[in-house]
Symmetry: C2
Subunit: 155 residues, 2 copies
């Protein structure tokens, strides 16, 4: 017996609500910021950041998708839009006739190089500086714990 209760108890609910509100507010403000500061969308930023940091400005589409944990179709659409805006370009892949290399254009490189320090500054201002170093590392540790827990669960 002892089915799990159908609702969260008050303390759990408070914790959950605070987490959700914080997370939404934070992500919302950060992405609006990237948008107004750089003219890029948050997605553009993430893609360019991963492409230049991890891939040296040139990556296979599927690797790029994995590096930011996106579905391939999402990445494909995003790359199409970014190509239209001149931030990246598609190149054929000599080794694999199906494949495509995604490369950051000079404009894309410039854009990310200008946007990155500002973005980091906002992360610092909104998030990092809200907490003591000890609190920050606690929050990081608890996040990792939830992450590991989820990865053990089906779905």
């Amino acid at each position: 017996m002892d089915a799990p209760p159908h609702w969260l108890d008050p303390e759990q609910k408070v914790a959950w609500d605070n987490f959700i509100r914080m997370q939404e507010t934070l992500i919302g403000r950060l992405s609006r910021r990237v948008q107004t500061d750089s003219g890029m969308s948050a997605s553009d930023y993430i893609v360019l950041a991963s492409l230049t940091e991890r891939g040296g400005g040139r990556m296979r589409l599927l690797d790029l998708a994995k590096s930011v944990e996106w579905e391939k179709s999402r990445m494909s659409h995003q790359v199409t839009r970014m190509a239209k805006r001149g931030l990246v370009a598609r190149e054929e892949c000599p080794d694999d006739g199906r494949g495509a290399f995604i490369v950051a254009t000079p404009a894309g490189c410039t854009a990310i190089e200008e946007a990155a320090p500002q973005h980091v500054e906002h992360v610092r201002r909104l998030f990092i500086e809200a907490l003591t170093p000890h609190q920050l590392s606690t929050l990081g540790r608890l996040s990792k714990r939830v992450l590991d827990h989820m990865e053990r669960l089906p779905d």
Copy 2:
């Protein structure tokens, strides 16, 4: 002098990355779950939940928007879509000629009543159970702290 460094130090970066990954994974899994369990989108769920819990199934559009911290236009579009699906309906507001009441239809009430326990169950499984009660309350407290910090900042 002493300009803030342009990058996060390694410990800050680890904490930030873990937080971001956790939050994205969690929200993603929860909304996919609501979708497949109930056929509603995560937005449908939030709107119906707030409408029935806080408003007794009948609320002004702008109040509804504020209750979930959405922009009015987002809510207006969402209500249009939900009306098309028969989850809510618009009613004229006698007191205020500009206004609109949003009401949950019987179908909407049924839908949220069926979806809510399942959703809570997933929150519990993915998030609550990852942590001890003490850790959970810590995470809630730190979230609140970040939230308060952000509310003090412009933008």
